[in-house]
Amino acid sequence: MKLNKALATVALAGSVAALSAPAMARDTISIVGSSTVYPFATVVAERFGANTDFPTPKLESTGSGGGLKLFCQGVGTQHPDITNASRRMKPSEFDLCQSNGVKDITEFRIGSDGIVIASSKEAENLEVTLEQLFLALGKEVPNPKNENELIANPYKNWSDIDSSLPNKPIRVMGPPPTSGTRDSFNELALQGGCEDLPAVANMSEDDMEGVCQSIREDGAFIEAGENDNLIVQKLIGDTGMYGVFGYSFLEENADRLQAATLNGKVPTAEGIAADDYPVARSLFFYVKKAHVGVVPGIQEYAQEFTGMGAMGPNGYLKSVGLIVPPRDALMDLQEKAEKMPNLTKDELM
């Protein structure tokens, strides 16, 4: 009897809370997603808040995957309105969105980010192919004597891999596994240099990723924490060291650092924007159209982000290090912000 009463009370409390929920309207835009896009999106959000009558949007840095998961959880003001991503939405994520009622989504490709390998200007510059880079940093690499067999990485010096490389021990500092930069570095640089090797050619995709994206743990690759400043300081003090970080950091320290060429390409803003540089990725944000008009200011935010003030040749996003798309792509973006076209699954395939 007593138990029944207790259960009834709990049920009642629950349903009261559930009923009261839809009444909680929200007038601040809620944005989640990639930590790579976060520094750019926060600047846009702050400008947007300062220059319009809308409140400043709220931003959470949840990572691209985490952001899309939250974004696709449903329609309603308890779910975010916009998510940032440092990669494109996957078809599976699109399906998740659809099955939760998030039908209409607009995609904005806001620019690019490149990952560079750099060293002090006084050091010997590195000119490597992605394959050589994988051989230098992979945990297991093909045996030099038998290319189908994988062995623990035997290379000590860069010149052991190829005599054209510097005769110096392999020592590379890079971001920890929690970092999006590390994910992209693994995916674009290491896997890019490894997937065509005969030793992994017959593997399943998962096994291949396991081999290609594992970095050696014998001290040649040094995890530096999320602090890119620290990597820069180390590189300047130690000419035998190479460091991995985002392009914007190279640009900030252009007077002290030089970038290695990858597959013969020097990282430049133009090369990264045109996807010519091999370790470049695009940055996106996605807008939930069902919330436009419900939460005030969403479309205006998209217009601010894609406007000339932000992304133009003298825009403020350029000064925080975003590699902005070329002019014609920018015009397309602005039109998108005007019309908000729907994203289709075919586009993502």
């Binding site: 629950g14 809370a17 559930a18 929920a21 839809p22 909680m24 929200r26 601040t28 809620s30 989640v32 976060y38 520094p39 926060t42 600047v43 959000a45 702050e46 808040g49 300062a50 220059n51 409140p55 400043t56 709220k58 931003l59 959470e60 840095s61 959880q73 309603g76 003001t77 308890q78 975010p80 999320e226 890119d228 400043n229 950091f249 320290n253 403020y316 925080v320």
Partner: protein
Amino acid sequence: MTDQRSQAELVRQSLKRRYRKERRFRAYGIAAIAIALSALVILFADIIGKGHTAFIKTTVTLEVDIDGEAMYLDDASDERQMKMADFVEPLIRALMKEIPEAGESDRDDVRDLINPYASNQLRDALRENPELLNTTQTMTFLSHTDVDVYVKHAGDASYSIKLNEKQRGWVDALYERGVVDTGFNDVFFSRGDSRDPSRAGILGAIVGSLLTMVVTLALSFPIGVAAAIYLEEFAPQNKLTDFIEVNINNLAAVPSIIFGLLGLAVFINLFGMPRSVPVVGGLVLTLMTLPTIIISSRAAIKSVPPSIREAAEGIGASKMQVVLHHVLPLAMPGMLTGSIIGMAQALGETAPLLLIGMVAFIVDVPDGFFDSATVLPVQVFLWAGSPELAFIERASAAIMVLLTFLIGMNALAIWLRKRLERRW
């Protein structure tokens, strides 16, 4: 006889060794305290050394000629014109006047001396007072963060100065003449977060922390005390209450991130409450602090001597009167101390808030329990991870503010205990 003497001999012989042992033991103790203290001193020295400069702001005071023609503005009360007006131009002109050696080609370098949001300040001044148009006003603006870093940290190897040679010369000259000046950083205490370090403040985080703590205290103290009183005074001793007791003790040791997961699943996903709001943060921290409060409250109730209960019962008080009139007032100091320590713990917590969206970039200072907010330790975390060097000193300054609050709360707990405690 011989036996006795040899025993005294033995004692005497061992005496030296025993004294040595004691001295060694004392030395260990002193060393342990020295290690703990030096860790504390290093921590404080590091934080204060890094953070004290965050309490200084750099300003630029200019004679601004608010020239309508240069701004494409002839009526400052017309919103449409205000939207299209150029508020940067008068600032550049005012700066150029102060720097006679700067030519037309240096305009960009000159503009980068002043905060990018200075034009907003001019706009807001005009919006508030349209008559200012076409007058000359003396206005004080924040400097650009690069100037701020240069003025405060020139010559410090751990900061990289981003100004070019020309700009450094200008700033040196302006600083000498008092146009560029430093003062107490009131911005730091009166604003929310910002991506521009010189405009970033902790008021948003302080208010967010206070709102969250109010929710936590309002829920966890009455619930915790009621649970403790019931368990201690009324509940029968059986398997069920034993089970509950074990569980409460276990909950106190559960890592706080678990409470965050619970909050996400229950409050946000099931009840549909909004993300990043102090109410949800307070609810989650309530779950976290409850065990601490229940345990300390039970201990406080247990320490009330049974003679007091018996005396009250002896003159005919009911069970409830005994508890409310006699036990509770006597146990209150202990309960309060436990609650304050629980609250201090909750104030420093970030992990559970990560999952419910309170680790976020929030510029506006929250003005209610359902407004997006962040809290002090989260603000430290966000600034410490920012690439801009100027945020590092602000992170340390925020730590100082957080520590001040924590020390204050602990001091309050000690004071309450000293003041209200009774001994029998």
